[in-house]
Symmetry: C2
Subunit: 313 residues, 2 copies
Amino acid sequence: MDQKCIGVDIGGTSVKLGLFQGDGTLLRKWEIPTRKENGGAYILEDIAASIRRQLSEEGLALSDLEGAGMGLPGPVLPDGHIEFCVNLGWKAGNPQETLSGLLDGLPVKSGNDANVAALGEMWQGGGRGYKNLVMVTLGTGVGGGVILNEKIWTGMQGVGGEIGHMHIVEGEVERCNCGGFGCLEQVASATGIARVAGRLLEKEEGPSSLRGIRNLNAKNVLDAAKAGDALALKALDTSCYYLGWALAAVTMVLDPEAYLIGGGVSRAGTFLTDRIKTYHDQLSPMATKKADIVLAELGNDAGIYGAAKLILG
Amino acid sequence: MDQKCIGVDIGGTSVKLGLFQGDGTLLRKWEIPTRKENGGAYILEDIAASIRRQLSEEGLALSDLEGAGMGLPGPVLPDGHIEFCVNLGWKAGNPQETLSGLLDGLPVKSGNDANVAALGEMWQGGGRGYKNLVMVTLGTGVGGGVILNEKIWTGMQGVGGEIGHMHIVEGEVERCNCGGFGCLEQVASATGIARVAGRLLEKEEGPSSLRGIRNLNAKNVLDAAKAGDALALKALDTSCYYLGWALAAVTMVLDPEAYLIGGGVSRAGTFLTDRIKTYHDQLSPMATKKADIVLAELGNDAGIYGAAKLILG
């Protein structure tokens, strides 16, 4: 098939779009701002107009497309229905039906953005060659996506793959955004890594290059750890222990071939994944064949790749 | 189809067999001893002979069967290959091919016994009506099985569903059978519940009807808890907390419709599952639609039902 397709990744600040060939080649990518005024009422219209404009510039028509895939920042039911997308101001509706209507009935499919990114990485990124994997995105929060037999697994209400909200720390007194206490996200997101280090700085007396840094962030901790700072290493090790523990638990449930680590924190590379792997392997002795723990490769493009893959099947 | 089929559940002491109608009706069930001599060399021959004998008594022939399904006490690869079945003395081989050869080429399929039991419960037991569920069997150990879209999910090496070996207790110094420390099985199996109570008896001073019982077992703890014994209640609560935590973690990964609780310990009924549910719900706040936590119903017959379902598809 020479059909092309569009991948759309809607974020709170910008919408990323990509024009793909059927074989997965990204022909063109571009961005438009996310207009959140009026409950996000213009977002889908902007996307439709932008797709039409881009097609026209390429000398293409809607009929040259097999469809458009879309990643949304919230839970998406199998039929495309959403209850809400907090970051966009959206309430209940079916954005994929709406976008299809705005594009003369073009087939549109949608999924949760973290799940769609996992699908993209499996297809054209760090997960190439695996059919069953779990992706963990370490950013401001901890996102996740489960891919089984090359398809997104959402579960009955779209909570499948929400690895960041596995309870993992006992005795935590601060509440997580999800309403729980002691979620993985609270110790393993960028925010969480900085938080673990901040608490260690308060508790321990030894010297550290982190002392005196105002608004300590995860990059400070990772840089200091790479430079050999003992306290930073201890903080990072704590975060990686909980990550390894959570993934070991996933191994006992799903026994996937691989874990993909993405998001801003994953720029630390194998310095990070080697530590996660050590704890994962230690806490899942029954799995004698160890899952690979690999880095995501597509960065911010994972969403548009995965969205395209929703259409290409 | 009026075809019938056979379900076989091979245990370390006895082999359970069932003759089923295509609609799931169990027509006849019987048992034979598991002959473990000579590395378990006679087990499959005994099964084949017993099936032929039973068919003949029923006035049936092998050609009246659609096939035979088989649950095996160990990891089974999708093609039926096993590396070992410790309890049977078996080494590497393909029991389903062997049994098929002994039954004139009758189609034979096999799976791990805990997974097959989960399938049976989904089909004709406590899991009727669910397509996605996770079963947890609380016996001497803690077994488990994951059913997704009405099929067993084994993972890449058959470790999928080994909920009992999720790491869940920090600081445990005794080693689990799997080689790990702090597995769910160590606090939530029958043995584990007795162990938790035994440790509490040593640590705490208060009165308890459990004091003085030699070789304390899970039934003692459950009976005392039901009678209101404070220490027994505290022990049971600890075990249920870890079970609820583990299932909450599974919810964040798979978001299944239901959890099925089986095994000897589950005879405690809703006295047990209500406690598990409380902790599951508390530790998975993001899942606003709560998975059901229900009791298994088929007891020791779950294996033959699930084995039959392997054939009936």
